[in-house]
Amino acid sequence: MKSKKSHTIFRRFALVAILASIFLLGATDSPEARFSRIGHNMMCMCGCNQVLLECNHVGCTYSDGMRNELTAGLQRGDSDNLIEQAFVQKYGNTVLAAPTTTGFNRVAWIMPFLIFTLAMGAVVVVIRTWKMRAPAPSPAAPGVSVEALSDLRARARKETEL
């Protein structure tokens, strides 16, 4: 019975995931959208630490030229990857606003998701382990009962409502 229920839940999740994937795969990409997306994935190299399309440095000697290069790349019909590589060759790795997914840089992306997965998994395991243990509460310290601590807690709460 339980297994059937969990299968139903799994099927629902799978359906939602498939629909979401279809939606995302079917995305259209206009030149303006590509300009905005690539431009927001690169940094302005004038030293302002701003994303290329957000650099508003008065008299910035870099951003206009970089935007023109981006527009030229799009007009040539270059792929996103090719445009980004051209920028990396000219300005260095720091032109990309986020680490690439190659070599050591992959670690930057993996770590947060790895920690997320491990942490969530750990919580589920902890809850299940605790749930399986005897329901009797464990004393906080030798010689102190849980009831006594609960009373203390209630009293302390009253005393400290400042």
């Binding site: 927001h40 997320f116 509460p137 601590l149 409502e161």
Partner: protein, 678 residues
Amino acid sequence: MPQIGSFTLLFALALGAYSFLAGIIAIYRGDDRLGETARRAGIAIFVAVTAAALALVIAAFSNDFSVAYIMHHSNRDLPIQYKFAALWSGQEGSLLFWCWLLSGYALVLRVRHKVDTRLVAHASVIIAAVQVFFLLLVNFAAPPFSIVQGTIPADGNGLNPLLQYPEMVIHPPMLYLGYVGMTVPFAFALAALIMRYPGEKWIHITRRWTMVGWGFLTCGIFLGAHWAYAVLGWGGYWGWDPVENASLLPWLTGTAFLHSVMMQEKRGMMKTWNMWLIFSTFLLSIFGTFLTRSGIVSSVHAFAQSGIGPWFVAFLALTAATCVFFYVKNRSHLVSEHKLESLISRESSFLFNNVLLLVSCFAVLWGTLFPVLSEWVQGTKVTVGPPFFNRVNVPIAMVLLVLTGVGPLLAWRKTSIGSLSKNFAIPGIVALCVAIALMIGGMRPWQDVATFYSLMAITLATLVTATIFSEFWRGGRVIARHNDSNVLAGMIQLTRRNTRRYGGYIVHLGVVIVIIGFAGVTFNQDSEQELGFGDKMQLGAYTLVCRSYTQDDKPNYHSEWAIIDVMKGGKQIDTLFPERRFYKASEQTATIVANRSTLKEDLYLVYTGRNPDTGRPILKAHLNPLVMWIWVGAHILLIGTIIALIPNMAASRVPSNARERLAEAEAAARTGTVVGSD
């Protein structure tokens, strides 16, 4: 003045050292009289540091450019409010300001020592140790009263133009009040651990102090975001800059603590977890300060690179070692009294909430430090900018939003699926309706990931809002029925009777409104154009007409500005004045953004410069939907925090028969909603 300032800082250091050492000896020997002298020495630190801070402010007001700090951060024509703000505009002054705030917090703690004399005595010693560290910094590593060598200049270099904005007079103090405020809960937590404090009083005191620090930090973060939006002129409010990230780290752990502390208060659980959350919050406050000031990471608004980094590293290492030592020594004192009983319970939701907040904290820290790590491992630096932080943190924020909606519907210990579905049905249907309405209205989540997240954020925000309103409505209705009043009065009474719980809901409401504001970023538009007299520029439904452009000369700066008529539907609805200033003393330019803000959208105009060939202004216009929601949400969030800090309505002020009826009503409300009280 510099001599007075230097002397009082040295005196404060001596007092701090005495307060620390005498405090330890007094605790060790049980000598109350010595302990009292340590406490009074601690109070006297406030007087000494106040005198030093005043000396620096007076030096700024009197244009005393013999003081190197004043020479670097002020000038004769600087408006008076910014001369005052010069106190925290540079490395040395801001450290002095930090010392002053810390001595202020410590003063409150030491004056209120009767709350619990022994606990406060221990906490006072810990705070004295922190004070000694910062006083050592301002006396030896970054002295604010250094004298200019050689000829004293006739005028100063002036304040950074970006800091010459009204919000800069309040943003840093708020942020610092948040950072520094985290010292007090840390001191209480460590004190409780050291003395194996019997009972839970310390956790209540710690929670209230954390909430104060958290409130200030929240206020500081939002003021900073608003300053970035209004002053930097790039059309955004959060750039994931290392300095911004530094403020977010202790905020995230502090938020986690404010949730998990309820498990300790209610069920005696998560004691070790809470202890380490408080330790982490304090350590991250100091770590953030280290990041900002050491020059370890490059940032647009970090302080200049200086030699104080090793001081911070040593202090962080010493503090962490102290925490670990006392934890290992006294960890038996932190054993949980209960265990989690169900995956679907309030406790589990808090646990998941905590884990998500900490994962988000890790992701922000990881992204901030990855350039340093990459340089160390690969020999080349990489940039970790907004695309990384958004991609990693937005999904976490979505799950957190789900928990914000579901959490209040869960009962302590265990909740049945049936009761959860019953309470979840109406908010769920409302959220679904909103999602469908948005898609019918033109929002296409399949177009790109940003739109997908935007739709999800608004839908989940609706779910949380519906949950919160249903909580208020149900409780308010029961109380109103018993009191023969209306539902609104019932809701107010409900809030007054349990300020912490309902204040918390108001904080959640503020958060969801902020998130709706964030969701608007997907639909931002912008356009840039050179405009002559009468030229037009189209952006969204607005037509911008350049009526004129001119320039002006003020004592502090030279400015150029345009007069732009804003037309909509053929009618003039506003006039905006985007401006660019050139500050004479610092020889730097800054933009003064002209912003027409409504609940629907912001029309944001930036004067980017002049075309040197035609002499005509170039304007950049942004159309940013829903930005005002962020500032409205921030206000609600802060109101909720203040409400949560107010003590519950005194029982004695309620007639006894009414009190009984109210107790009944609350019990009935609880039974009806299957929700445990906080």
